[in-house]
């Protein structure tokens, strides 16, 4: 239909404005829905967990159902010990493998290792639990903190391997060549110059890996097993926050279920703290990198 040019222009403009407003509000909605679960979970945890939170909750051992004043002290200590064992296994292996992948990028062995690391990181964690059960629990005849730590450590290996590889590849080749030209051997260049430069990134990735496995439950079910008693022995079953949450939440007792919320809150705070720490390290690294780039680009 013929319309005046001016009127037509205005209609198009209005239509565009309308469409833009609709799209903007749709995107807003999507963002809000994305945030909603986290907000709800946190709110629910705060409401449900706050009732049981108190100094005793952190210092007391679990009590039988019906007996008030139970805590999760053994779960917190157990989780920390498990993470320590996991890091002792996952860190050196992951670091070494990542360094190897980054420095020997295109060899056939590197391609194989990279592929297997990806497969390993995609494995359901319960499969790793079964594997460690076969490997350690069955031969030794008992569930143990060591087995739980190994299971979490195996989970960490691919995470740290791929992160280390990525961070090491970010190190400018110019720094490698500077060290080589001074007479550093290839190995020594990797272990000193390259690793030192990539370190903040690797620390960040390691903290995130620890945070990631801290909440794992499945691989602990038949390795660490859990216990209502205080234990820090490597060769005996050990309590862990996720296991306690699992046991309490699936129990028929109200006070235990309330404690499950409390335990979940503590676990989430722990993971938050680790992620926040990782972020801080990343920020300081970015500042340092910026300083380097600015310095190099000056003049």
């Amino acid at each position: 239909m013929p319309r005046t040019a001016r009127g037509g222009e205005q209609t198009t403009l209005q239509a565009r404005r309308r469409r833009s407003a609709i799209m903007t509000s749709l995107v807003w909605c999507a963002s809000a829905i994305c945030l909603l679960p986290l907000v709800l979970i946190t709110a629910h945890l705060l409401v449900g967990g706050a009732r049981v939170l108190g100094p005793r909750f952190f210092t007391a051992l679990p009590t039988p159902p019906g007996v008030s004043g139970g805590g999760i002290a053994n779960g917190i200590a157990g989780t920390l010990l498990l993470l320590l064992v996991a890091a002792a296994i996952g860190l050196p292996i992951g670091l070494g493998a990542g360094l190897f992948l980054a420095e020997r990028t295109r060899t056939r062995l590197a391609e194989t290792v990279r592929f297997l690391a990806d497969v390993l990181s995609g494995l359901p964690s319960i499969v790793i639990g079964i594997f460690v059960w076969e490997l350690i629990v069955r031969p030794s005849g008992q569930f143990s903190a060591l087995a739980g730590g190994v299971a979490l450590g195996v989970l960490m290996i691919p995470l740290i391997t791929r992160a280390t590889e990525a961070m090491v590849q970010l190190v400018p080749n110019a720094l490698r060549e500077a060290a080589l030209a001074l007479g550093y051997s290839r190995a020594r260049t990797s272990l000193t110059i390259v690793l030192r430069t990539a370190l903040p990134g690797i620390v960040t990735a390691s903290l995130l890996a620890v945070a990631r496995v801290a909440g794992e439950t499945a691989p602990l079910l038949f390795t660490a097993f859990g216990t209502p008693y205080w234990s820090l022995r490597l060769d005996a079953p050990i309590a862990a926050l996720p296991l306690q949450i699992f046991n309490y939440a699936t129990s028929p007792y109200d006070d235990w279920r309330a404690q499950a919320w409390g335990g979940a809150l503590v676990l989430i705070v722990l993971v938050f703290a680790l992620s926040w720490l990782a972020r801080r390290v990343t920020e300081s690294r970015r500042e340092r990198l910026n300083a380097t780039v600015a310095g190099g680009a000056a003049e």
Binding site: A178, A179, L182, G183, G296
Partner: protein, 261 residues
Amino acid sequence: MTAPLQDASLADAHVRLDAWSVWFASTHALDAVSLVVPRGGVTALIGPSGCGKSTVLRSINRLDDGQAGLRVTGRILLDNVDIHDASIDPASLRRRIGMVFQRSNPFRRSILENVVYGPRLHGLATGDALAAVAERALRRAALWEEVKDRLGEPATSLSGGQQQRLCIARALANEPDVLLLDEPTSALDPGATQRIEELLYDLRTDVTIVIVTHNLQQAARVSDHTAFLLDGRLVEVDATRRLFTSPRDPRTEAYITGRFG
């Protein structure tokens, strides 16, 4: 192709390339380059991008060793010893042959730490003697006066020109016989460039310098000998003044008069 004539007699040769060829996978980077770098003084390598001048430089301290697909033929002699001889350790070779790169690449540590990296590795000095070595290297690189009160500050806090002189000091701290520079001033402003050229002039008496440069005026200003490379071949090498005023090869003349490259 006949070997280009060269003034320097072989007895004066500090570094000598003898029919040196390099392949990276299927790329033929250098084709039978024969070149004599006389002891002392400055030798400049010029030529258009991709002509192989950086490869020549990197061959002299074996920096490309171990690269996938690298294949070489011919010989490189340092003081008449084949640098690929089994008795030569690349690490000690690189101590004797320092290298400075196009972009300054200080380690992310203090100014002092940067300078003592090499001497510490090679055990040239320890303890207090290290500080003396660092001071000497920084003085030779004409940087001492500017940094003597801030040796503990991060090397990245220096300006671009200072960083490049720090990299020169870091290379000199190893007390090398030969200093290789790969377009050391291409990222610097004219003032910083001039300081480095003056520095090279002072260093030439006790170090043999080989410099790759894109800047023909720079080659004319700083070098005693100039070699012109094209497509991986050495076209001509001569005393700098003669090469720039009366080149023998028409391709050299075309390049230095700016007709290509």
